[in-house]
Amino acid sequence: MSEGTAVMDASSAAAKRIERAPLVTNNRTMSWISDRVASCTERRAPTWWWITFTLTSSLAVVSLLCIAYLISTGVGVWGLNHPIGWAWDITNFVFWIGIGHAGTLISAILYLARQKWRTSINRAAEAMTLFAVVCAGIFPMIHVGRIWMVWFLAPVPTSMGIWQNFRSPLLWDVFAVSTYFTVSILFWYTGLVPDLATLRDRATTKIRKFFYGIGALGWRGGNRQWKHYEMAYLILAGLSTPLVLSVHSVVSFDFATSVIPGWHTTIFPPYFVAGAIFGGFAMVLTIMLPARAIFGLHDLITDDHVDKMCKIILLTGSMVGYAYAMEFFIAWYGGNLFEQYAFINRATGPYWWAYWSMIFCNVVSPQLFWFRRMRRHVLPVFIVCMFVNAGMWFERFVIIVTSLHRDFLPSSWNMFYPTWVDIWTFTGTFGIFLTLFLLFIRWLPMICIFEVKAVLPEADPHYHGHHKATIEGGGH
């Protein structure tokens, strides 16, 4: 910064700030960004897309068939028994609902914190949130056994003359998850409107013009529209922010408010939220890395983006590790024999393999991200993310099944063995998730075009001439 040496005025002080890496690399122009992102939806579907889509949608159908079999036959087709009344069903529910949290964190909290690097990943992460909540919503719905009675959860006046038990965390769950889904979908759609207008304006066929035209809600990009848009988006971000913390806290209450040793702990809400963000970011990377490679979006989703997400994974993974340790400490320090047994049994009992898989995947594997080299190579990042995905599923399995399988009455002690229906229903939800994601990248811009343009240096009002030092400092 040679020109900053003359006078220590405001601009030179700004110039002295640590230079930040650009958020869009290779000096890409605005039109390049529009072209690159919009063309993903405009070109003919590539062969790989059709192959993947066939596979994932077949898998989704398998899940739906298993659900149909479950509903028509009864919950006996799952491996549930006494005392293990919850197993894969609720494990899968918590697993999927947790994954959504990264999307909300990126879209709401990082927005309010003015973290500009969120712009190129928020759209896809929010979409992932929605699809994960769709997968999550299936399980509590079907685990009730008589699914046609599931409307009992809705507080509507009925000829039974009673309300739901508002003291039950299971009911709080219904509200938490449905609020989460509603706010997420509103947030996502609001952010989509200007980009849908871009797609409408670029559209060459009547059908595309028609559908994107409807989706764009008459967006013309006028000053007043932008003003309203910014305000609406800010309000929605404000509404979503508490949801990042509340949804998974409420999910953890399903366990924490019970009296089962291993569930009845006050650490659950923060521990679940940290775990959800942890697992969510791993899933974001799991699907964004292939998407980036396939569509050649390396200039928009740069290695810096991946690096930052890895740091969040490292942070939240370590928080989760701390929570695991603290559970053991409190079990010892609390002096409750049943609690102590529950935790010793977790680590050394018949489910030791699940416990230690969880520890390895969630606590040990993310420690690789202390090393910059590891955060900047796709392969180790991808492998660690796969470990984290598996580890977060194991975490919920460990919490649910190991706490239940040792009842207060030793004569009731039992083991859980999944049936083929358990296995394929869960595997199939990945089909549902990926099918929805494939449809998303085919029909909607997977990166927020207008927000990415706003983080280009050209978007700075002072770019053309004024305050040259500031620009060269690159601190935006």
Partner: protein
């Protein structure tokens, strides 16, 4: 870009919203009215094998409910009278009436008359007649003005909300024990009913169960 949508399209969202609002309201009200026991059960009046008239027997002739429904005070289940009960009188009275054909046939064959059931609590509901009629709950409260019915029909919805109406405030329905089988009895005024009911509730220590297990055992 040229206008792809014509000008009138601006009003389409508003119109759609209006239609959706109207449809939702109509649907909600429809379900509220047509899908509840108030509509689906009240007024059910099937044809019975014999044209037995409660209006004739209970009201005009003044027979007590318990002559035929003889176990109502001692049993959870209130019995439908057997053919022998009918024949106790009808072997002498109107013994040749064609209206008694089904009773006669049953008397000769020994097979019971196939009365069509009207009031049917679901199998997961436990209702005890004796517990109610011995504590000031009249037949009238659940079966309506049955002593005026030529053919029996269901007068009350008998939904869970309807049960709870009384279980939550029994003082509105309790009557003197001597008037339980007098279906024409009415309290002098709502205020009198409330005063009397409150007194009975206290004296008889009436605590209707409001827990699930009270009725769903």
């Amino acid at each position: 870009m040229s206008n792809f949508f014509p000008r009138w399209a601006n009003w389409v969202p508003l119109k759609l919203l209006l239609i959706a609002a109207v449809l939702t309201t109509v649907l909600t009200l429809g379900v509220w009215y047509y899908f509840t026991p108030k509509y689906t059960r009240v007024g059910y009046m099937p044809d019975q094998p014999a044209p037995f008239s409660h209006a004739l027997h209970a009201e005009q002739l003044g027979m007590d409910c318990r002559y035929c429904h003889s176990f109502v005070e001692v049993s959870g289940h209130s019995n439908i009278p057997d053919t022998q009960t009918c024949m106790a009188c009808h072997s002498q009275i109107k013994s040749t009436s064609p209206k008694l054909a089904a009773v006669k046939a049953s008397w000769e064959s020994g097979l019971p008359i196939q009365w069509v059931r009207i009031h049917k609590a679901p199998d997961y509901v436990y209702f005890n007649h004796a517990a109610h009629v011995n504590r000031g709950v009249s037949c009238f409260s659940c079966h309506g003005q049955i002593n005026d019915m030529a053919t029996v029909w269901q007068a009350e919805p008998q939904s869970m909300a309807w049960c709870l109406e009384c279980h939550r405030a029994p003082e509105k329905f309790l009557r003197p024990q001597s008037e339980v089988f007098n279906l024409n009895w009415h309290a002098a005024s709502p205020a009198a009913q409330l005063a009397m009911g409150t007194q009975f509730k206290k004296e008889w220590n009436i605590n209707p169960p409001l827990t699930c297990g009270g009725c769903h055992r």
